[in-house]
Symmetry: C2
Subunit: 170 residues, 2 copies
Amino acid sequence: MEETILKKARQTLTNYLEENKCRKTPERFAILDAVYAIDGHFTLEQLGQRMEQDNFRVSKATLYNAINLFMKLRLVVRHHFQQTTMYEACFNDDYQCHQICTVCGKVMELPGNMLSDMIAATKLRRFHPLGGSMYIYGVCSTCQAKITRQRGKKRISKMNNNPKNEQRKS
Amino acid sequence: MEETILKKARQTLTNYLEENKCRKTPERFAILDAVYAIDGHFTLEQLGQRMEQDNFRVSKATLYNAINLFMKLRLVVRHHFQQTTMYEACFNDDYQCHQICTVCGKVMELPGNMLSDMIAATKLRRFHPLGGSMYIYGVCSTCQAKITRQRGKKRISKMNNNPKNEQRKS
DNA sequence: ATGTATGCAAACCATTTGCAATGAC
DNA sequence: GTCATTGCAAATGGTTTGCATACAT
């Protein structure tokens, strides 16, 4: 995570807080720092743990409070993957693409610019777009390979079709 | 909702159940019928209510059981809008686009083919896409108009920036 | 007859809310 | 000093689970 990005994110937060007569509490900035220190997706739990490691304990209420604010300011996005909720820092990166394997649940990130280009090219009448998320579902190469191999052995293709297999967390 | 679509969806379900030695229970088909009888988004609560109106009561566990299966078969998709979870029938409509106003929370559906075209055009190395969802966030025309009007009156632009305003359900 | 699916209630996880105490301004 | 923000605990909403019963096969 680049230094500059964090600095800009902090500035965005500061601007908002000042503009709206909100308080610049140490918690808010500490949480923002933690968010931007994590690379990639994280749960709220993980965020809290990370902060404790840095000797800064905050309540869940405050975490949610801050995260909600950050989402509003588009400093953070939330994703609902299979059974888990994941957050992600997203400063200056308003468009994100995710590739999700419906068999193993693995999530891959793709460059967001393909999405922004596409939205820019689309005529959205009477709507001013500010960002977006895209989720592409399918089968990853690893699972595809497994399936092909299995199909070779058994004719009754059960193992990759039974929904119960994937209703549990990995 | 077209008759044919429901018929095909039922066939997909039948195929799956037979293929996987699952039971063709009346509940599963009744739930599928209800899902496809509803036009657009619905909550699980609403789905249950709709079924009760049709004199077919099912437990929540069974509703979730069926819905999870349908999601797996891509007969249904789930969306997490602001504070509520909404489901949607999606047979033969594997790509859906949603336009979400970040001010009032209104959700508009857009034709999914723009998304499928785009994904088709993208080289996803080593990934076999089966469907996708896209969410475009921004400000709708109504809210845009309100904001412009407000800005004219007050210079302190607070009303559309305070996150607390939108954390409540409309 | 067998074992899968259902219904119910309890458990669980993510998130919000109410309220008293703290601290930024 | 004032009021927004925090922390805590309780409440809420969505979803899953465990277990006894029902029923599709």
